[in-house]
């Protein structure tokens, strides 16, 4: 990889937080227990809050402070709380079941990261934010979450993958253009919250119908 593809982030703190986020995405991909997954999701929320704060300080963008506050409230406190309660109510303790084994998924994840960095190079050239080198990180985290949705079998992990994708999008937006307009951010946060509620309701329904959360019960294959 040529050096130009990796812009050194202006603030070492932002860079550190970005790599921590990427690491946490890999951790989600590798994690085998459901409770730990939710904990990593909360950790991602903390990393996101911190990086938003540091970008806000470095770029002197006051509205990003509000974004950081919302992130803290929604993604660190409210959503993990809801998810934990969900796991408790549904008595989910067991292991995460995978369609593709973890080492193979990790290798695929490596390729995804390389691809994301190569892809984001021209965008980083164009962006004029202090943390433009981290756009690739955001994209990589997004695709890794997607990869997690593909390779997991249980419905709850799909939801966590979906929430992880939203985190990554938020991170990319912060680094590419100092975040989306406030209205959009509020709207997205609210959507995610409502989405979680809806998923929760669905999970209860699914369990009552199929006695299981395995995705294969939701497959539409009459021949099987």
């Amino acid at each position: 990889m040529t050096p130009s593809l990796l812009h050194p982030p202006t603030s070492p703190l932002v860079g550190f937080l970005g790599s921590a986020l990427l690491l946490s995405s890999f951790a989600m991909l590798a994690m085998r227990r459901m409770g730990s997954l939710v904990r990593i999701f909360a950790l991602q929320g903390i990393l996101l809050t911190l990086s938003t704060l540091s970008v806000a300080l470095a770029a002197k963008e006051p509205h990003l402070f509000f974004s950081a506050l919302f992130t803290l409230a929604f993604k660190v406190l409210l959503l993990p709380f809801l998810l934990f309660r969900l796991l408790e109510r549904l008595h989910i303790r067991g292991e995460v079941e995978v369609l593709l084994n973890v080492p193979t998924t990790m290798v695929a994840g490596l390729f995804v990261v390389v691809f994301s960095f190569a892809l984001s190079a021209p965008i980083s050239e164009m962006a004029n934010t202090v943390s433009r080198g981290l756009i690739g990180v955001g994209l990589a985290a997004l695709l890794l979450s997607f990869l997690m949705m593909i390779t997991r079998r249980k419905a709850v992990t799909q939801v966590l993958g979906f929430l992880g994708m939203e985190n990554a999008l938020f991170f990319s937006a912060i680094n590419a253009t100092y975040g989306m307009p406030m209205v959009v951010e509020l709207g997205v946060a609210f959507d995610v919250l409502v989405g979680t509620f809806v998923f929760g309701i669905f999970f209860f329904q699914i369990r009552e119908t199929f006695e299981s959360f395995d995705l294969k019960h939701m497959d539409n294959t009459p021949t099987e």
Partner: protein, 683 residues
Amino acid sequence: MTSLSATPLFFSLSTLLALLVTGLAGAWLLTRRPTFATPIFLLLSLETLALTFSGLRGLLAGSDIRLVLPGGIPDLFIHLRQDPLASFFLLLLGGASTGVLLFSAGYTKDMATKRVAELLSRTTLFLFFTGGVFLADDAYSFMVFWEVMAVASFFLILSGDKTPEVRRAGYLTLLLAHGGSLLILASFALLSIRETPSSIVSLSSFSFEALSQSHLSPKGALLASLLFLLGFGAKAGLLPLHVWLPLAHPAAPTPASALLSGVMLKAAIYGLIRALFELVGLHQLASSFGILLMVTGAFMALFGILHAILQSAPKALLAYSSLENIGIILLGTGLGILYLKTGHPLPGTLALSAALFHALNHAFFKSLLFLGAGTMIHATGETNLNRMGGLLRHMPRSGTLVLLGVLSISGIPPTNGFASEWLLLQATLQARDLSGTIQRSSVLFGAAILVLASALAAMAFLKFFGVGYLGLPRSEGAKAAHECSLLEMLGMGWLALGSLLLGLLPGLVLKEVVKVVSPLTATSLTVPPEAYGWAWLLPLPPAGPSSSPLLLLALVGILTLPVFWLYWGTRRGKMRSAPPWGCGYRELSGRSQASAESFAQPIRHFFPVFFSMKRHLPTPEDPDPVFDLSVEDPHWPLLYRPLFRLFIALAEAAERVRSGRISVYLIYSFTTLIILLSVLRWH
């Protein structure tokens, strides 16, 4: 400039709006007061009469008024314009629909209230949006009016019997209409391309005035005109996109079939002429396109009339004959383009005028004939000519009106059908001025087909009238036939009167039609419209052949009336009725007459290429001999059914992608995302 409220455009607009309001409010009122059907239809016919006069006024004054109304979306205005071409087609719309609505006032008497309300609201919607098509002056509102007109025509068809065949005909119509709309849209897009692309596309650049400023390469212009031809052709029944027409027009209730055939096909012709001459522009049209249009039209005329002769259901016969007439109109349009592009403005204007004249004539006599077919079906309860017969005895007055329509459509002088076809023939005979061999021979080929098609049309309508109205009744229903109501007759009478006037005063009509055509051709015409006299039809003034239907009628009258008078004067009171000689049979029944099929047998025999026939001839040893014959449009087995099979095979192949597993679907989106991103980055 006079005040806006005095212009024909304002008058047309308010009439159309009044029509819409009356129709929709009337449909609502009907559900409460079922007896109001007749007055509502009468009121509607008055409004269409006003529309007729608005069109006539605009045409006589030669007014060309534009109006821009604010639309629903910012920066997107509704451009309206009533120029002579629009006035001419408004006149056509109003004239034909006045008769049809008058007829409906009587026709709907025995129908269930719900069906009447359905027919009423759909008819007015159809009329309003067709009027909008004629008035629209930008691509956006044109498409809106055009599409709603297509949907309204779909619902008009569905307001017939609720059978699977009717539904199938309706869906086929809708499918082809929407396919055509897409092509029209594509052509509009092609015309809106400019050499200097501006980043902000102003929506006002889609007004017809802006679109007509296009500079296309010769290939681009040809593509645009072909797209317009196919797009509008899908709604006009252009071969091979015509398959919906013979299914849909007979399926609709009688007033609706009359409107679909009399008005909607003309809307497509209007669109084609507007698009070719104004939007693409004569300067960008190719003479080869004119030849293509002419040859297609000629083939269509022949194909349509041959199939018309073979039909045994009166409405199906009329529907196929519409194909013939549209073919004649397209032939005239193509001929006009060819002449104008090769520098012969006089015959070119004549050919185009003849095409428009024929469109007006067809609107009147075809609506009349469809209404007549409706009365035949209603009076006998039969839908096949083989179960009718002898109707003239029971329905002398409506039968006479139908006879007028039959004479007109067969092109018997001095009717209007003769006038327009004769004009077109005169235009084809100017082919000696053309230089190219291909051009000259294709025009003469067109002329020959035109004459053949007119002769065959006379045969088809001889069958229509002869088998249906003359001879002995062929079924119990035909024996018990009854005359139609006064209002129905009034509606048919209006249309017959229109046909008659158009036929007797063709010089006056030609003078006005030339005024419509001249702005379109944008070539300096050496002859002013005033040169066309009123009593004499003089296609190529100052010299050349001429015809005077009034004089002809007077001459025929002078020669025949004394004989007629003498005959009746001497024979009064001495009439006696006696059984005719029955060729040795003990009694003559309806079954001993020539049937509808036997009329068509020679045609089937001489032109086998035009039909796809399945015939089962029983052998002498067959213990249960049944003669069986089915004739089909060859487009079904050769084009449409293979096409349907191909689509189904493709759909089944695509079905394999659909595994039904969520993970697989997620992989699809993941892969698509990766591929799209890669393309974006390294394209």
